[in-house]
């Protein structure tokens, strides 16, 4: 591996981590699309900043562009408040307009702005190592590594300092306000950090792929855990893996690094989406199938419990009166017999003592929603794990 190769991977990894952290909060706060809006609407800010500073890595440019991002959020919220259009329409109106302005600014001044419209969407990670930070003639490494490194450090510092507040306000805005953490301050704080991160990452990965770096690791982690700390760690791990893996994929295909990183992110997400132990599609579908049988079983037991008369307890009644959908009655009867919950004599079904006890407990749980009634049942039945 050559030095530029190592540096590119390092930059990619730092960008991925810096994006993943605010991304977790955006996903949890149901604001994932705000990242999309910001990443587009900062473009005019970046172009304007470039006119003034002529340096894509200048801190002034980053601040100016980040302000555009926060303005977007304010504008979207203003339009939402007027009630003239629905919330999501407000987002959908603001960012294409600002992005269009940015694109036109670039194409009108193509000779002055050394930016390519393609680069706006893709970034130029491959060239990042060639823009060096020189302090009095000494080479301190790639500039963008410094920029993203500093942004990452600030993000980590803020995360460490306000972890408790962020956690409370993310899960319970009302409680957070009652505890004296202003939701407004935290909201705009998060928006500002997101904006700065997006601007910093923009140079490396472009407008749309920064959205992938923010949302995908967090969404993937969210399918695996509900614990905020674990979610943050997992997102960081997914982000770094995608950054490194994506680099080598791009190397192999001789294609865009940012595109490859996103493809790897997508691949990781897809894996988790299908195979995650509890929330993955396969697990969910399996559980739904089990639940259908179990709910049917319980309905059946409850029915026996409710009706003493023989006509209601006849085994044929299962098919003709209780209208089982999608679940075969044999499967239900078999399950009940296996668990010694019923006995069948002369085609008449009766509840055993165990079946009766089980039914009572389950019913109590359903009515009161209190878990302690069914603690010992949980391991046998999916139904109560929801």
């Amino acid at each position: 591996m050559s030095t530029p190769q190592i540096e590119i991977q390092l930059i990619a990894a730092v960008v991925a981590v810096a994006c993943a952290i605010p991304g977790v909060f955006l996903v949890l706060r149901k604001m994932a699309l705000i990242s999309d809006a910001i990443s587009h609407s900062i473009l005019p800010g970046i172009v304007l900043g470039f006119f003034l500073t002529h340096d894509l890595n200048s801190p002034w440019l980053i601040l100016l562009a980040a302000v555009t991002g926060v303005i977007t959020v304010v504008l979207v919220e203003f339009i939402q408040k007027t009630g003239l259009v629905k919330e999501d329409t407000a987002i959908g109106l603001v960012f294409p307009a600002l992005f269009s302005i940015g694109v036109l600014m670039i194409s009108r001044n193509a000779s002055d702005v050394h930016m390519d419209v393609d680069a706006v969407l893709l970034g130029e990670l491959a060239f990042a190592p060639f823009d060096r930070l020189l302090v009095s003639g000494m080479d301190l490494g790639p500039k963008s590594l410094w920029v993203m490194g500093i942004i990452l450090l600030i993000t980590l510092g803020l995360l460490w300092a306000f972890f408790k507040e962020l956690k409370v306000s993310t899960f319970d805005a009302g409680l957070s306000a009652a505890l004296g953490f202003s939701p407004v301050v935290l909201h705009y704080g998060l928006m500002s950090v997101s904006s700065i991160t997006v601007v910093g990452a923009f140079d490396a990965v472009g407008a749309i792929l920064v959205v992938a770096l923010m949302i995908a690791p967090a969404a993937t982690a969210y399918l695996l855990t509900h614990d905020l700390k674990k979610m943050l760690w997992l997102s960081v791990i997914f982000g770094i893996s995608a950054a490194i893996g994506g680099y080598w994929l791009a190397h192999l295909l001789d294609a865009s690094i940012a595109g490859s990183i996103t493809a790897v992110l997508g691949f990781i997400f897809l894996l988790v989406y299908w195979f995650a132990p509890n929330k993955g599609i396969i697990a969910v579908l399996y559980r739904k199938r089990q639940q259908r049988i179990e709910v049917s079983l319980l309905t059946f037991l409850l029915h026996l419990n409710n009706h003493q008369e023989e006509s209601e307890r006849h085994i044929n009644h299962l098919n003709e009166h209780i209208n089982w959908q999608k679940v075969r009655s044999e499967a239900v009867v078999k399950l009940a017999l296996e668990n010694n919950m019923i006995t069948v004599e002369d085609q008449l079904v009766s509840l055993t003592d165990k079946g009766k006890e089980f039914t009572d407990l389950a019913l109590e749980y359903i009515l009161t929603n209190k878990d302690e009634h069914i603690e010992h049942l949980k391991k046998d039945f999916f139904l109560f794990r929801g």
Binding site: V27, K30, A32, L33, S35, D36, H40, I79, T82, L84, V85, K86, D88, T89, I91, G92, L93, P96, A97, F99, S100, I101, V103, L104, S107, R108, A110, V117, D118, L121, L122, I208, L209, V211, A212, I215, A216, A218, A219, Y222, L223, L249, L253, D254, A255, S256, A258, G259, S260, I261, T262, A263, L265, G266, F269, Y273, K279, I281, V284, L285
Partner: protein, 370 residues
């Protein structure tokens, strides 16, 4: 070329005519179908679908090697639909929320698309020149056959729209109720989604993946402000869309270095801005004016009430009183007094005022209301 020259050329220059007709039809059909997206609160679905179409275009090129835009658009259609249904599946089967699902499909599909595009560009036999245009759109690449396809699709969707007008309206307003009346809501729903995806796909060549969603939303959001009737809203949205298309193309054709897509979007955004501020029913300006007027009316009525409280202490309600006793009353000015005279609530005689029977009655009504 100035705008005037452009519109003169429009009728003589074949290419220019084709392009302008194309963007006009595109604007009309996206405005029309975009109204559904806006009313269904699925504004950002269009954004996700248009981005999701990109890998479809790239894959269609990789497999067929075709430069023909129609073949590529079928690829776009397939991957766009795939994205749309995956979003639905994700929301239904996991606890990920709609915004996350939209953002994921948008960025992951697009990333894959970019990976494929850059891969294609480096292929030795790549006559790739055509694929870049799908990012920001290039109206200039429209040819007559593209426009014919747009016309055909517009005609079909207009026909379907009119045919199922009643069902569409019902579903948009009240989905559960629609079900109880015996309509197959899933069928209607799929039909709407399908046509939204088609509208997006035919717009990709002109406006591009990135800005396509604005073509769906902006005309509809603008149209909504001017009317409270669904049919008028859809008609207006089509008109705004068509106008944005024509005007955007005109501006971009007459200036150098202005891509069509962003200009069309900005023209549409301008319509939205105007509509938000100046629409008579809902616009912010008139809302503010109405608010001020109500406040003045309220002050006038307060003054009248105060005068009533004075007047009713006398047997003769029209007993004259000095104007200066009103001076202490908040909100009273010479102007409001004159307005009350105009309304014939009071008469003014020098420095004395007296209440009329009309004013007395009005004030009594105010009291009985509270």
């Amino acid at each position: 070329m100035s705008l005037g020259e452009y519109f003169e050329l429009l009728f003589t220059d074949y290419t220019l005519g084709v392009i302008t007709l194309g963007t006009a039809i595109l604007g009309a059909v996206t405005g029309m179908l975009g109204s559904f997206a806006v009313l269904r609160k699925q504004s950002l679905l269009g954004d996700a679908i248009s981005h999701a179409a990109l890998p479809g275009i790239a894959l269609a090129f990789l497999f067929t090697g075709a430069k023909d835009s129609n073949v590529l658009l079928i690829g776009a259609l397939i991957s766009g639909l795939l994205g749309a249904f995956w979003i639905r599946g994700m929301v239904k089967n996991t606890h990920l929320k709609a915004d996350t699902a939209l953002g994921l499909v948008l960025s992951l599909f697009f990333g894959l698309g970019m990976l494929l595009l850059t891969y294609i560009q480096k292929l030795p036999n790549a006559n790739q020149a055509g694929l870049d245009k799908y990012l920001f759109g290039q109206a200039a690449t429209l040819v007559a056959s593209d426009v014919w396809i747009m016309v055909a699709i517009t005609a079909v969707s207009l026909f379907i729209l009119l045919l199922f007008w009643k069902e569409f309206k019902l579903l948009l307003f009240d989905a559960d109720y629609t079900k109880t009346l015996g309509f197959n809501t899933r069928f209607i729903d799929t039909l709407i989604t399908f046509f939204i995806v088609i509208a997006i796909v035919i717009g990709l060549q002109t406006v591009g993946v990135v800005l396509m969603s604005a073509m769906l939303l902006a005309p509809a959001a603008a149209a909504r402000q001017w009317t409270n009737k669904l049919s008028v809203m859809i008609g207006l949205a089509a008109f705004f869309g068509a106008f944005s298309g024509v005007f955007g193309t005109a501006i971009s054709a007459t200036q150098s270095n202005l891509s069509t897509g962003p200009v069309i979007v900005l023209v549409a955004a301008f319509f939205v801005l105007i509509s938000f501020v100046f629409s008579p029913g809902r616009g912010l300006l008139f809302r503010e004016i109405r608010f001020q007027k109500n406040r003045r009316e309220l002050e006038l009525k307060k003054t009248l009430q105060f005068m009533y409280s004075i007047a009713k202490t006398h047997e003769d309600i029209s007993h004259p009183h000095a104007v200066k006793i009103l001076n202490n009353f908040q909100g009273f000015t010479r102007k409001t007094l004159q307005q009350m005279v105009d309304k014939k609530w009071v008469t003014l005689d020098g420095t004395m005022w007296s209440m009329t029977a009309l004013g007395y009655e009005e004030a009594e009504n105010l009291y009985s209301q509270t």
